[in-house]
Amino acid sequence: MRGALWVHGELTPEGGLAKISTEVATAARTVAAEAGLDLVGVVIAADPAAAAAELATYLPRVLAVTEPATADHAAGMIVGQRLAALIERDGPAFLFTGAGPEGRDLAGVVSALTGWGVLWNAVAVGWTDGRPTVRMSVFGGKLLTDSTFTGERGIVTIRPNVVSAEAAATPGTVEPTDAAGELSQPVVRIVERLEEAGAAAPIEEAKIIVAGGRGVGGAEGFTLVQELADALGGAVGATRAAVDSGWIGYSQQIGQTGKIVKPQLYLALGVSGAIQHKVGMQTAGTIVAVNRDPDAPIAEFADLIIVGDLFEVGRALLVELRARSG
C-alpha cells in the first residue's frame, strides 16, 4: 500500500474552509503527485460538512469527522488529539497544515502525541530522495534553510501566500468518518465570544498591506492608513511602536513579536524599518515607503521610497487611487 499525505482542513469562524487550507492543499497535491503518495484531507469540527465539501474541490478524498466538543471548547487541543488518534489508526506518512495560530496549536499537539517531527513555516515544499524537503526562512529572513525528516514520518506547516490556491481538475469525495480514540486531554471551555469591532481578515493572508508606524502620530492618523487600505482592497498593519502606543490593536502588528507577512504589496507610512519590524515584512513582493527621512533604514530595502510628509502624500495617493477605480 502507498503511504498517504494528509492535509488538515482548518475552519473559518463561519464554518467554511480557511484560505490557508486551500493553499496547503494545493501545495500538498504537487508533492503527492511527485512522491506517489495518496492524498487525503481531514476536517474535524462540530459541523465539518461545509469545509469538507470545499476541501474536496482541491483533494480527491476528504474525511469529515464530527466532533461536537469544538462547538464550545478551545479547538486546538481537541482537534489535535482526534487527528493524532486517526493518524495512529490509519497510518499516513505525512501531515501538512497551515502555519497560522490554529495550525501551530494543532501541529504542536499532534507532534507531542505522535512523536513526529515538525518542519514549520515552510516557504516552499519539494520532494527529494523519498522525503519532503522544506525551505524555511530563519534568523528573521537573513538565511534560507532546506530541511528534511530523519525518518519516514513528519508534519509540515506552510506559511500563507506561499502558493496560489488552485482547485483540482476533478473534485473529490467527502467521507463522513467516526472519530478515533478518547478525549483524554482536559478540554477548555469557551465561556463567551467577544466580537471586536473592525476585526478584519487575518493580515497574514492579505495580498496588500498598508502599514503605519510611529510617524503616523496617533490613532487619528490610522484613519488615513485604513482609507488607503480600503482603496487598495488591502488590510491595515502596524509597527510595535504604534501598537504599544495604543493607536491600533495588537492583531495588526507586524514584526518580530507580531506577525510575519508576505503580501504582494507592502505600503509603509511613517515606518522607519527597524530590524524588529523588517523581519516581519521583508519578503513582501513590492515594498513602497513614504517617509520624511531619506536615510531611514527602510530606504535600504524598499523598492520605492517617497521622501515627504506621509499625510500629504497619503491623501494625494488616495485621490489618485479613487480616481482610478472610478
Partner: protein, 262 residues
C-alpha cells in the same frame, strides 16, 4: 500563586552575525544571547499576577550552561529563581526533544500556571507550548490578551485572540497559557533588581536529574535535519521619489500598475 515562565535565550536579532556552524546547527559563539522578546511579555504578565495575587515566579530554560547570564537578566526583572536544564547530550535538540525535556522538568516543579511566549525570534515555530501542554495533560489556553486567575476557585480565565475578536476561555489550574504582547510592555530591570539578581538562586539540572536517558533526547534523537542553506536573493535597487505630493502619488500609481499590483 506559583508561576513558571518558559524562557529561551536566543541570538540577538539586532546583531547581524546569526549563522549556522558547519554542523548546520546554530553557531552560538557568533552572536550575543538575549532573552527572547516574546518571553519577556510572558514574564511581565507573571510578575503582574504575583504582584496582584502574591506568590513567586520561576524561570525555566533548556539551554547551554552559558545561559545562566541570560537568565540573570530575566531574574533582574523580578523573577524569584531560575531553573536551567543543561547537558552536553542536549546539543542538537529539536522540537520533539525540547518538548520532552521541558515537560520532564515541569514534572519536578510545583505551579498553578505555566506561561510561555507566543514564539521565538530564532526558530519562530511557536510549537513548544502546545506540545508541553499535550505531554503533561495541562489545560492549554493560547494567545492570551488578558489573564485573570481566581485563586480561590482554582480557575483561570483568558481572553484568547481569535480572528474576529476574543474567545473567553476558562480552565482549572494548573494550566498552560501562551502570552502575547497585548498583555503589556515588559518592564526594564531596576538597578536594585540587577543587584538582587546576582544572588538569586539558579539551579542547573542534567537530563539524568530529570530521569531521561542520553539517547532519548538531543542529537541522538533528532527527527529533522538541515540539508543545506542559501542566502536569500537581494532586493533590487531602491527608487527614490521626491517632489510635490500629487506628482509623487501619480508616480506610485504608475509604479504599482507597471508591476500589475493595481
Amino acid at each position: 500563586m506559583r508561576i513558571v515562565v518558559l524562557v529561551k535565550p536566543v541570538p540577538d536579532p539586532a546583531s547581524a552575525g546569526e549563522r549556522l556552524g558547519p554542523d548546520m546547527r546554530l553557531d552560538r559563539a557568533a552572536t550575543p544571547a538575549v532573552v527572547n522578546a516574546n518571553d519577556e511579555y510572558a514574564l511581565e504578565a507573571a510578575l503582574k499576577l504575583v504582584e496582584q495575587h502574591g506568590g513567586e515566579v520561576t524561570l525555566l530554560s533548556m539551554a547551554p550552561s552559558t545561559a545562566t547570564d541570560t537568565m540573570r537578566k530575566a531574574l533582574a526583572m523580578g523573577a524569584t529563581r531560575g531553573v536551567l536544564v543543561t547537558d552536553p547530550a542536549l546539543e542538537g535538540s529539536d522540537l520533539v526533544s525540547t518538548v520532552t525535556v521541558l515537560a520532564a522538568a515541569l514534572k519536578s516543579l510545583e505551579y498553578d500556571l505555566v506561561l510561555a511566549g507566543a514564539d521565538t525570534s530564532d526558530g519562530g515555530g511557536g510549537l513548544v507550548a502546545p506540545g508541553v501542554a499535550a505531554r503533561l495533560g495541562l489545560p492549554y489556553l493560547s494567545y492570551a490578551a488578558r489573564i485573570a486567575p481566581d485563586p480561590d476557585a482554582g480557575t483561570v480565565r483568558v481572553h484568547r485572540i481569535a480572528p474576529t475578536g476574543f474567545e473567553v476561555l476558562e480552565a482549572p489550574m494548573p494550566s498552560l497559557v501562551v502570552c502575547t504582547q497585548a498583555l503589556g510592555e515588559p518592564r526594564y530591570p531596576s538597578l536594585k533588581g540587577i543587584m538582587a539578581a546576582r544572588s538569586k538562586e539558579v539551579t542547573t539540572r542534567s537530563i539524568a536529574d530529570l530521569g531521561l536517558a542520553d539517547d532519548a533526547v538531543g542529537g541522538a534523537a533528532v527527527t529533522t535535519r538541515v540539508t543545506g542553506t542559501e542566502k536569500p536573493p537581494a532586493r533590487g535597487a531602491t527608487k527614490v521619489v521626491r517632489g510635490a505630493p500629487d506628482e509623487a502619488a501619480r508616480e506610485v500609481v504608475a509604479f504599482l500598475a507597471e508591476r500589475r499590483i493595481i
